[in-house]
Amino acid sequence: MPLYRDEAVVLRTHKLGEADRIVTMLTREHGKVRAVAKGVRRTASKFGARLEPFMVADVQLYEGRSLDIITQAESVGSYGADITTDYGSYTAASAMVEAADKLTEAEASLQQYLLLVGALRSLARREHGASLTLDSYLLRALSIAGWAPSFNDCSVTGAPGPHSAFVVQLGGVVADAVAPPGAPRLDSNTLLLLSSLLTGDWAAADDADERTRSQASGVVAAYTQFHLDRGLRSLEHVDRRTTA
């Protein structure tokens, strides 16, 4: 199939030569694809903003020898413009696409695709706080990748919770009997918020206070950095201030 179509969300772009870009995208059916968009940096380019990060597009690609070539792109969801008008959303979205880039390969993962598109759409529409949306995305993306954290039952023995000791390396909360000495303890509100973010219980998550949110973000960041190879560069730049 030298020519194929798919729906794709753009993860990142790299400049190539004078006016081209290499576009890394997560597609619905072909997994992660790196392809060349010719002439996109010229201001008269027909692709324009359609191949910028956070954009969802219907793309047509020509299978090349090393990299595929994008021959057409029609916008399906242009979330980029709405995301960049809020700095917190922009930094959150950057961390999401970086995580998606690290968590996906050439095999298709419809779940990862839908999760990312849903999270970007939610950011663009300002449905929930940007920082909360990012934390929820990270927990769920890591779960799809096989690293689901446990926030209730002991992740070592399976002993029913609640437990308060949280050990990133052990996969979540652990019973006191197996908790290493000095293991950090999380309060019940933080654990409740983390569970809500993991399951997508937004009514509960939106209610969480500032202190609880920031503690949960710390846990999610530590858990993410532990599981992702070399960590996420974007994470330290995420602007966690809530905007009115």
């Binding site: 030569g17 996109v40 010229r42 201001t43 692709f47 910028e52 413009a81 700095y87 330290e236």
Partner: protein, 199 residues
């Protein structure tokens, strides 16, 4: 893989922006095989550029002195600062002859995925220049692409509490491109039609 020094040359060239492995190999063999190619001159220019060229103490533009041509020019208005990402954007805007103020060259755009946050750009220097009240308008002329827009959003947030006009180049510039590719007429129009940033 080639032997020793040839491969080293290819690797070095391949580290340059926009040059892939194939281009690196092509350039390397051009250097090796073309008799008229003046390697000494190229090497000298490279050395001199690294030695002499620096960033303007005030605006971050490239210069061979402490201050760039524009900052030294008494005819330029100190009341307006145009914020751009790179020195090449200064060249593009100068070509339009629309702008008579000074510049602030950020040295890039905010891109968390590349590990570039606000502190990695010359934003603090910009804030310092605004402290004494001489500047009455800041024109944000970052690239009309995602990182450029996000950088503009960040700057607007930093500047909105200050007593000055903050404007952004008119959206006549096609989105997704680099500022340096905008032709003079389009860029000139974008300057004239710059809009007030609200919030």
């Amino acid at each position: 893989m080639y032997d020793g020094i040839v491969q080293e040359l290819i690797d070095e060239l391949g580290r340059l922006p926009g040059i892939g492995p194939k281009s690196a190999q092509r350039i390397a063999f051009h250097i090796l095989q073309t008799e008229t190619f003046d390697v000494t001159h190229l090497a000298e220019v490279l050395m001199t550029v690294k030695e002499k060229v620096r960033f303007c103490d005030v605006c971050g533009n490239v210069t061979e002195q402490e201050l760039c041509n524009i900052c030294r020019d008494p005819r330029r208005s100190a009341a307006t600062i145009c914020v751009v990402e790179e020195a090449k954007d200064v060249v593009a805007i100068e070509r339009t002859r629309e702008f008579k103020g000074l510049y602030q060259v950020l040295g890039g755009a905010i891109s968390p995925i590349d590990g570039i946050g606000p502190d990695d750009l010359r934003i603090r220097q910009l804030m310092q220049r605004l402290a004494d009240g001489t500047v009455t308008e800041v024109i944000i002329a970052t690239d009309p692409n995602l990182e450029g827009e996000a950088t503009a959003t960040y700057l607007s947030r930093m500047l909105m509490h200050l007593d000055l006009r903050v404007t952004r180049l008119a959206s006549g510039l096609p989105v997704g491109g680099d500022l340096e590719y905008a032709d003079e007429v389009t860029l000139g129009r974008a300057f004239e039609g710059r809009r007030l940033v609200e919030n």
